[in-house]
Symmetry: C2
Subunit: 494 residues, 2 copies
Amino acid sequence: MSYAKLDAHCRALGALEHALSILGTDEATNMAPGGGEERAEAMATLSGMYHRQATDGHVRDWIETAKTEVLEPQQKIALGELERSYINMTCLPSDFVERKMRTSMRSEQLWRSARPNGDWQAFAPALEGVVSMMREEAAMRAEVLGLAPYDALMEQFDPGNRTAQITPVFTELKAFLVDFLPAALAAQEERLAKRPLKALSGDYPVERQKALGIEMMKAVGFDMNHGSLSISDHPFCGGVPSDVRMTTRYRTDEFLSALMGILHETGHGLYEQNLPKDWAHWPSGKARGMSIHESQSLFVEKQIGRNPAFWNFALPLVDTHLQENWTMEDLLPHVHLIKRGKIRVDADEVTYPLHVILRYEIEQELLAGTLEVKELPEAWDAKMQASLGISTLDDPKNGPMQDVHWPSGSFGYFPSYTLGALMAAQQWAAIARINPEVERQIAEGDFSQVNEWRRDNIWSKASTASTPDILRQATGEDLNPAYFIAHLQARYGQ
Amino acid sequence: MSYAKLDAHCRALGALEHALSILGTDEATNMAPGGGEERAEAMATLSGMYHRQATDGHVRDWIETAKTEVLEPQQKIALGELERSYINMTCLPSDFVERKMRTSMRSEQLWRSARPNGDWQAFAPALEGVVSMMREEAAMRAEVLGLAPYDALMEQFDPGNRTAQITPVFTELKAFLVDFLPAALAAQEERLAKRPLKALSGDYPVERQKALGIEMMKAVGFDMNHGSLSISDHPFCGGVPSDVRMTTRYRTDEFLSALMGILHETGHGLYEQNLPKDWAHWPSGKARGMSIHESQSLFVEKQIGRNPAFWNFALPLVDTHLQENWTMEDLLPHVHLIKRGKIRVDADEVTYPLHVILRYEIEQELLAGTLEVKELPEAWDAKMQASLGISTLDDPKNGPMQDVHWPSGSFGYFPSYTLGALMAAQQWAAIARINPEVERQIAEGDFSQVNEWRRDNIWSKASTASTPDILRQATGEDLNPAYFIAHLQARYGQ
Ligand SMILES: [Zn+2]
Ligand SMILES: [Zn+2]
């Protein structure tokens, strides 16, 4: 039976993914400094093995034959998702894939060396190479998938996401934020004038911060039997669903950045831990995509973790672990602090979408050829001025050179961040609608009903439907920016 | 060129080995408790992938063709060793390999459940199954390799080792030890009567023991840029040559067991770290086998680590890290303590070979059919009485049920331990012959010349020759028990 052959095929790929994932985590957390070269070599070889097996011609035949076999509904969905993944993986000729790997590796290296000095002139030619390559790639993907070029790129990260739905939503959101940001900043200034930001008392030992972090992780539902928390330079959530490896980074003079980072990664981890185990090796059993993943992390970090109700439960824990006896009025101004800035990764939830929408607009123009790389610094600056009132013209390092995405050949990825924020707000609103007690529950440290809804409507769905379909089935409507806008107004409006 | 194809083939296998090795280490040191099932599944799948690729029919063709190509001497050696490894891996039919895996897995499980209660009757039928299977395996390997059955089994662990050389050596060693042990025990009793064993002062925090261990590791040559030390229930030396993962286990009421364990594993680690890097992915660039590996660990643990000269250097470090201001007369009776016992893994360097030779004799009889499993408890007891003067008849748990080797289907492995001890003594003697300053150097913490000899004569040789050939080339003679016997006489004789 061809379906059985595909099951074994997925299991083999799953084992290679498992290995690559743990090797990656191990590299960041446990590898000896001198082990990097051999590790890179081993991982490249295993990735090649994965790609060769995943794109083997037999797979196409097995898929075709399996379609004629008698299958359960879940098996049909699994087969469809495998086919989607197979097509996305095989739609580029292998000589192009190799060329892309070389081009983007070189351009990423150049970016790493040119960025610290903001040397735009040195970096621009490399980016030009990537852009022209991405135009080719988008055209090829578009051809195979029958999609518009930019949609065909987004399809890799979030199946079903289309500019036709996203652009109007982003346009509305941008219009709102451009007006809202100055008002929210003014309101904040007024509050801080009355009551200045409480200074941190100072010394927070790593072990105590870790104990606090783990208590929070467990409280919001993370299963320590299937995961752990360790330290790495760049926090991430890796590993495998049966063993989620979260990492964070601690400063001893400050505790909120590590704690909010832990809550964010816990959101990613909860999604992974609660994917359907029986389908773990099939694409349909894996996390749906980047925007839903980010909706899960932002749900925990922003919808829960910056909600005053949550701090009703969390403040006593901060006191227990860090001997920091803060009131709600001490804490909220810290976790709700907003400010204009040039850097996306440092942005708060009000300004972050403006950084993303700028990139979303620019990368479409770059791909379409209506903007060229040499015009990028001016285009970036103009948009920054219009949306955030900041100029980056004489600071390309913190302008168009700040992100790794473009030099590494990731186009169509940026919108996922803000789509995640919008979907998290929409999911929260859907929960609050059917469960008016949700804030009271969270204030008491009871996350069971929130998580039950998320398990039923998001986690257990894995990749059994497209991104917009999962959102629609979960919340009863299409992507709607009204929830996020209302959320910002309520939290930052006055 | 077929040689180039084999190079790529070895590189692919090397990547899978790298993954399996790091996954194994990760499992023991970092895996979440609930991650075991998925990890076992992934590792089994990757092992199957490894075995399928390693034994692929193309490999035989490439080897045959490569033999006709123009190759450098090192390439010829690599090709020969690959062929040896290929033959050893393909000499069993795959249905037998599967049956063996199932049989030994079941018998090992049964052993784990029956052992704690010493339930010999429950365990014996499983062992019978393994023994009859091992008779089949030995016959098949013997047929393909043109070796006697037991030699064919040893060939997997130590290429070139033959009973024709080993049996006379073990016979001589046993005869010596049976006389020597009572005399050595009497001499020890006399010494301890005059000066009783110094009690340990008590509390040794894990962090301090670890710092002491790492200082010792570095001193004897371990490269912390390509390795690390962590904690696991069962100490081991795993990882890969570019990133050797050593582990140990600490007791806080005692420091010598962890420290000597660290020195032992450091010996394994030094061997791995100093294998020739350019050949890392070919079988000829890997560690030669179990007995040479054990000679390297025992060299560091016994020849260096229990040498009074070493403690001249090491005692001040114990004082620095553990505030334990001991004299040589306090310490040596601890590290030279010997006693009769039933358990191999608890044995000292005088009694250990008697445990091994007993198993070496019995497993040959079991394979030859001159002994049956039902006669094993009596046979074991008789040999224990004759060599160590201890009865195990009413304690099968600490008699023939104590080791995992037989239930898991490892026959021909046991001699490696004592061969390692003999070879370590023979290597030490070879060094002392050409470098009369060796003890003075060690007393000063200078291990450079000892390691230079080992690098030139053992480590860099990797698997470019058979086990006996490497020993002969390094020391100028065949395996000779006189060195180990002289070593024991000098250390324990009076
Ligand atoms: Zn995230
Ligand atoms: Zn060992």
